[in-house]
Symmetry: C2
Subunit: 539 residues, 2 copies
């Protein structure tokens, strides 16, 4: 009927099915956190009506997400792929669901207790899958299968399941089995391995100078393990592997996607690009051409094209002029539909989503307890005086791990330590003196409890410089004012600081940064009372 007006409308609709666009998990446009990247509802709805087949969601609480996924599905004329980067429990991104310690915590545990670590990884997957499904997500963009053998890696780091291939592979496989047993799809990423880089592909294109043999030994095994475990999808990495393809990054490389992944590793599931909007791709190839090259190379799905309509037009043009084989598209569409068809019936979201069920809360606590370090007891300031709760974080505004009732604030306050935030967006406490880097007069009087929220690259807080924490701790020690030190996140920073702290100094570490981890560490250091029940750790 309308074929006369739009001769390739059917083709455009088919192409649209292969796109995954980004949207806020909030219902209202006014609530978008990143309006540059998150489509407004009017445009989002128009794209879904035009056949766009997937949405990646970020932002909003768990109950909002449940409403949002129903809304999106109601706008689309077909079953949607609804996904999110929930690598550390659904609560990592959507408040109200379970927020679990980062995977690398289990990677470390695996060294001392492999059986327990494997069991916990499987439960980690089940918890994530169950909660994702309850909120209307059907695709979890995890596990990270990168081997974090470079502690300076700014983007992978504690998101990885291990620092060696065997650990990462075994745990990623266990996670995948648990996750997919709950009726959602998983996604192994970032193929063929993003662990050994020290630059950030959001900004530039990392190069992996490794030989094919080295890839076989280090990078590929966790992907083989996840594929053997039946993982439904694999996400490509934006990095260059000259040993396999001298011209194109992995995301756009036929040698990597069709050669290595499909033929050599025998992967028959969905291949999805990492976000094409990232500078390493979009800045280099352009919004439309990047999407064409990814499909040519063997990707099935295009994640976050910089401009969805431009991508559809460019792909349709490439089919029309013979650069892209129509059969490739049909195969990808078929793979996508088959993946969706294998899932349980839609509509599992409840009116009152049953969040953080008792079993999930128990798991979250168990994971914190099993991966915690704490020694000594923090001495509160003498009665009638107060101390300083020096909290280091990347950015003070809207830190998800520091709600108003965060134990790192409230438990310390009950003990007499008043908060003093130090972040890239606060006034600086640094003196410029390398021997005495903290301007102590800016902190106020009394003993200082230091709580460092650091992930990714240790010591690299604000873009410009390195924060001199070892010297700062020595300075506080020398002044007799260091009451205790806690690191939330990086095991590398914790390892480094432990070497310089006296044996008797109260110190603790959790790989997690969330309230539950804060409460457990501070309880472990002798702080906290019954009313710390806020975080749910005491009952």
């Amino acid at each position: 009927m309308s074929d006369g007006a739009a001769p390739n409308a059917g083709l455009q609709r088919l192409i649209a099915e292969l796109l995954v666009v980004r949207a806020s998990g909030h219902l209202s446009d006014l609530q978008r956190r990143y309006p540059r990247w998150e489509l407004a509802n009017s445009e989002l709805r128009a794209l879904l009506e035009a056949g766009v087949g997937g949405v990646i969601l970020l932002g909003g609480s768990a109950p909002e997400l449940a409403l949002r996924t129903r809304q999106l599905q109601s706008w689309a004329g077909q079953p949607l792929l609804l996904c999110a980067d929930v690598e550390e429990g659904v609560g990592q991104r959507f408040d109200g669901a379970s927020w679990l310690v980062p995977p690398l915590a289990l990677g470390r545990l695996h060294g001392r207790a492999p059986g327990l670590a494997l069991e916990l990884a499987e439960r980690y997957g089940r918890c994530t899958g169950r909660e994702a499904g309850a909120l209307g997500l059907n695709w979890v963009l995890a596990p990270v299968c990168d081997v974090n053998n470079n502690p300076a890696n700014p983007v992978i780091n504690v998101r990885a399941w291990g620092e060696d291939p065997a650990t990462a592979g075994a745990l990623a496989a266990a996670f995948t089995q648990g996750l997919q047993a709950e009726g959602v799809l998983g996604c192994a990423k970032h193929f063929p391995g993003h662990g050994d880089t020290d630059c950030d592909s959001h900004l530039e294109l990392p190069v992996l100078p490794h030989s094919r043999a080295r890839l076989e030994a280090v990078e590929l095994p966790p992907f083989r393990d996840a594929i053997a475990a039946g993982v439904a999808a694999v996400m490509t990495a934006h990095l260059s592997l000259p040993a396999i393809d001298r011209d194109r990054p992995a995301t756009l490389s036929a040698a990597v996607l069709s050669g290595l992944l499909r033929e050599e590793l025998g992967f028959a599931g969905l291949v999805v690009t990492d976000a094409l909007v990232m500078e390493a791709i979009a800045g280099r190839y352009g919004a439309g051409e990047a999407a064409v090259l990814a499909l040519q190379a063997g990707a099935d799905l295009v994640l976050m094209p910089a401009d969805a309509r431009l991508a559809i037009t460019a792909i349709a043009a490439a089919v029309a002029d013979g650069r892209l084989d129509r059969g490739r598209l049909d195969a990808s569409v078929e793979r996508r539909r088959a993946a969706l068809a294998g899932l349980p019936q839609q509509g599992r979201t409840a009116a009152d989503p049953c969040l953080a069920a008792a079993a999930d809360t128990d798991l979250a606590k168990h994971l914190v307890t099993a991966t915690l370090d704490a020694r000594g007891r923090v001495q509160p300031p003498p009665a009638g005086s107060s101390g300083v709760n020096l909290i280091r974080l990347d950015q003070a505004l809207q830190a998800p791990f520091l709600p108003a009732a965060a134990p790192a604030i409230t438990i310390a306050a009950e003990a007499g330590f008043r908060p003093c935030l130090l972040a890239g967006d606060t006034c600086s406490p640094w003196s410029g003196d390398p021997q005495a880097p903290l301007a102590l007069e800016r902190l106020g009087e009394g003993p200082v409890l230091v709580q460092l929220f650091v992930r990714g690259n240790p010591f690299r807080g604000d873009a410009g410089g390195r924060e001199p924490w070892p010297a700062a701790l020595r300075q506080l020690l020398g002044a007799g004012r260091l009451a205790g030190v806690v690191v939330y996140g990086s095991p590398y920073l914790w390892d480094e600081l432990q070497e310089l702290l006296p044996a008797g100094l109260p110190a603790g570490h959790s790989p997690g940064q969330m309230p539950l981890a804060q409460q457990a560490v501070l309880l472990g250091l002798g702080l906290g009372t019954a009313c710390s029940a806020a975080a749910g750790f005491t009952d």
Copy 2:
């Protein structure tokens, strides 16, 4: 049947109906912001099943609130009063709904354009009522009818509709008519007038030393106006009025509630206490006795008793021993049921709550535009250099008006000003030198854009001391580094600073602190581009 086991079970249930308990608007216990004050779901559900008749909600986004009100109603065996302190639009407390400039902004506008101010106050009420109803609230705890004739008032301030009785009364009445026309109940507060105090009843009991004649001239007229407009409820104040009752605070005084309010002012609607948990009451009379005294004095409903079960037991005992007349309780129950029966049918909440409809967004913009001051154009730092965006707020963690994409941050960043937060919980930038109070070396190089988020008592940021903003601005002027000054909130601080700023210095003020106000002020000062659409001010 069960009378043998619990002879006064019926009485207890009747009493429970008169309580309004506090709960988080979030669905999950883990998300409570104030777990000390917000009941856990298990206890909340048990109380509702025992007949508790009302809940006051705080926290959570608008979509969460819609789920939450349905959940609470489903737990109760009777229609509930579901209320919230949404005095400045529902978006003030529940993200995603409309957040309006504080009432005093219209009070000031009323001086120059009374007709416009009255029209906007009526629309303000309609917007609030419509959105509250859509989210399942049926009782809005507004308007504030206090006359803010004391700029140092720490608790009322910009929440009031005026600084004189005629303005406050006219606007509060217009608001009430708009609000209740949308099918929700209003509540005039805090009777008989909380505007002329400079201490905080959350902490201590303020004393109003005024004569009856002065009350008649200043404090009472806005309440008379709201009552004439048909306001459904009146909330009592926790303050002492020796001229009327030498012994008891207004909340517990028969002379104030039965004598002045019911008999003299002829109010026949619901009388509700302010939160009994506040120190001025709970600390002085005890949790159970305070509730008994409030009902004895003539209150119908008891808001936030410190311990709901204790309150029920104490009230039942007072009826049993004759201290409290059973007829009083029956009359209050009757009044409560009649108020609920007069409302539209329950169940208006939609599955996808239609938030911030176009008319409401237009109103929010209109209110900002009509109450804005801005003069001059801020000069961005020279190309290749940067400046400082010095933001003063009470507390950096989880400031609701500063989401990650807040225009006060993002628009200034686009112009080259990097954020530097200064709050009670950040490192201090104060030097201690009264002539040069800012430690400029801590702020970094370049011109400084100063944005002050101040409400309530100007200059009283952290508990300890006064912040020397006039001297700090003179210091920056003297150093040739003051790029501009913005005040969000207090008109009193704005008035004071204007006197010291040179005529040519870019400066602006909005009574609102929300993103929409930030965007409008900064646009007015020549900052901001198309991508500032985040806040919805540009389309």
